[in-house]
């Protein structure tokens, strides 16, 4: 909810800036004009991030994805774009405030996990059952894109990006569903962990929560490709795909054994000054 309010406020302030620019000239407009003279065109945009933070490819231990909620994740971006002379080529530098996240519910079989608690507790083993994961990471992202104008309306872009995660959470629950006998009595759950490895002592798991927020990596990089459609003189719609190239956890982090890569699509609008 908080996120929605922030978005509304930001959009409102953009609108007021646009409204002002129509009536009188101020410093901002002069700066924009000066930039435009040098060939840099400024734009601001807003969109939704939709995607997953996922191992790629999905390991065989993941047997089913039972639930997926993309959540509401906003990206706000300001960028400068410059065309190289009369060629269709250009460059775009941006800064983006965004969150990337999702919730999943997966069924796993013989999934190795390891957890070290701050108080010294240590759990290792092969888990079979269900895992819920909630990811919500906030980034300041700096994309550097090459732009190719196909025609007056369409353009495509591609390039690397660098992200700094200033706030992140990665938490969830390993759980089991009750199994009932024909009399309706609970006789067990469909989840268990085996100590150390598949030969270890077996313990059925009703629910155990985890929180690896403190272990998340602060810097990410990846590549971004996208397309933009200029619907009006000042307004365009865009879609892009951001593919993370380093995992969200450091490589020596053993609680989640496979690397999880953020792969997100953004869908939104730009205002072109």
């Amino acid at each position: 909810m908080k996120k929605i309010y922030t978005l509304i406020i930001l959009l409102a302030s953009f609108t007021s800036v646009f409204a002002q620019s129509g009536s009188h000239t101020d410093d901002t407009d002069e700066n924009l004009l000066r930039a435009a003279v040098r060939g840099w065109h400024v734009r601001v945009g807003a969109g939704f991030n939709l995607g997953g933070t996922s191992p790629l490819p999905l390991p065989a231990e993941i047997r089913a994805i039972d639930g997926f909620n993309p959540g509401l994740h906003i990206a706000l971006e300001g960028a400068m774009q410059k065309q190289f002379g009369a060629t269709p080529w250009g460059i775009q530098l941006g800064v983006r405030l965004e969150s990337k996240g999702m919730s999943t519910d997966a069924t796993v079989k013989n999934y190795y996990m390891e957890a070290k608690e701050a108080d010294g507790g240590e759990i290792k083993g092969a888990f079979t059952g269900h895992v819920k994961t909630n990811v919500n990471n906030r980034y300041l992202t700096f994309p550097v894109l090459g732009v190719y104008k196909i025609n007056e309306r369409w353009s495509v872009s591609a390039g690397p990006y660098l992200s700094w995660m200033f706030n992140g959470s990665f938490s969830g629950e390993a759980y089991g569903n009750e199994i009932k006998n024909e009399l309706g009595e609970s006789i067990g759950v469909d989840a268990y962990i085996r100590d150390q490895n598949p030969t270890g002592e077996k313990t059925e798991v009703t629910s155990a929560t985890y929180d690896f927020s403190g272990n998340l990596r602060k810097f990410h990089y990846g590549v971004q490709v996208g397309g933009e459609f200029k619907a009006y003189k000042h307004l365009s719609a865009f879609v892009n795909l951001q593919w993370g190239l380093n995992g969200i956890f450091p490589s020596d982090f053993s609680s989640v054994t496979f690397s999880l890569y953020p792969v997100y699509g953004t869908l939104g609008f730009n205002y072109l000054f």
């Binding site: 507790g121 759990i123 962990i193 077996k202 313990t203 059925e204």
Partner: protein, 378 residues
Amino acid sequence: MKHFLPLAFLGAALTFSSCIQDEPLNAECDITGIDSLWLSNHKAMIIGDPIVTNTTVSVTLKKGSDRTQLDPKFYLTPGAQIFITGEGTPANGVVRDFTAPQLYTVRSEDGNWSKDYTVSFNYPRPISVCSFEHYALDASGKFYQWYEVDASDEQNPRRDYWATGNAGFAMSGMAQTPEGYPTTPNPLGVRGNCVCLRTSDTGAFGASTRMPIAAGNIFIGEFKTSQAMLFPRKATRMGLQLVGGEPVMLIGYYKYTPGEVFYDKNKEVVEGRRDKCDVYAVLYEVDPAKFVPLNGDDVLTSNRIVSVARFENPEEPKEWTKFELPFVMKEGKTFDRERMDNDGYAITVVASSSRDGQVFEGAIGSELFIDELEIVWK
């Protein structure tokens, strides 16, 4: 544009779900039970249920029955195979001599894992004096377990009659050595070793599973590790059909120091409450054809209880102090010797460092030492 975007996301979702790989072969290699047909064919010679742990199978046989040519058949993890340890020949239903315990090896369907099982067929030995001299590390080498010894059964003397919650505590990952577990051996007994029960902190894992403390406990029966998290009280299956007569007295020695701070089940401090230990024995009726043990939920309340000997007002002696607890018959119950001869009774003896440990209340650090427990039979 309008139509293109939803399609793109649908495409992405399909790609995502098509990424589920083929199911790998099973990696587990368990004996999950003894074949029910085999059991019903041997009903006349077997007492109670076989006890199957992660590495052992033990069956109690009626005294005098022949165990030199038995061909037990086991249920295994789907796809797993069972062999005579050291030999490559399949061993399910193969005749073996169980005068001494026999070893089996189970190999997983994917071939990557295997596990050895010790399978024993034992004659019962009624509980008498328990001195806690016999203990060993469990198969994982993480914690201790206690057993009784039947010296008359030369090649197969070990009787795993005692159980503890140590295997459940192992899940918390809080103990790095066997000495860090709630139930440990101690050399300073009344005579020889004794057992030390200590209420312990289960840490973050325990808190996340709403079991913030673990009382040190030891009891006659079976600890069903697999159910420890789901039904922590039902997992303590108390009692075995090891009755040697009508029990009249539970005798033993104890020392007790309560922990400093008492916690309730939400791990909130309870001011002014002092921890107390608990020692009791319960004799109860069982159906010889279908053994259902009492458990942590009903061990003191079931209507199958015949008599109870319980320490009502334990104190905090720093030196070894003897206790003598008489068995008190429940109203309307009698002891029937014929029923006993038909294995119609079971008995359990329970000791715990926190009296309300079964509901996860107690003081971390409470320590109960127990030695020379004895049941006096009439």
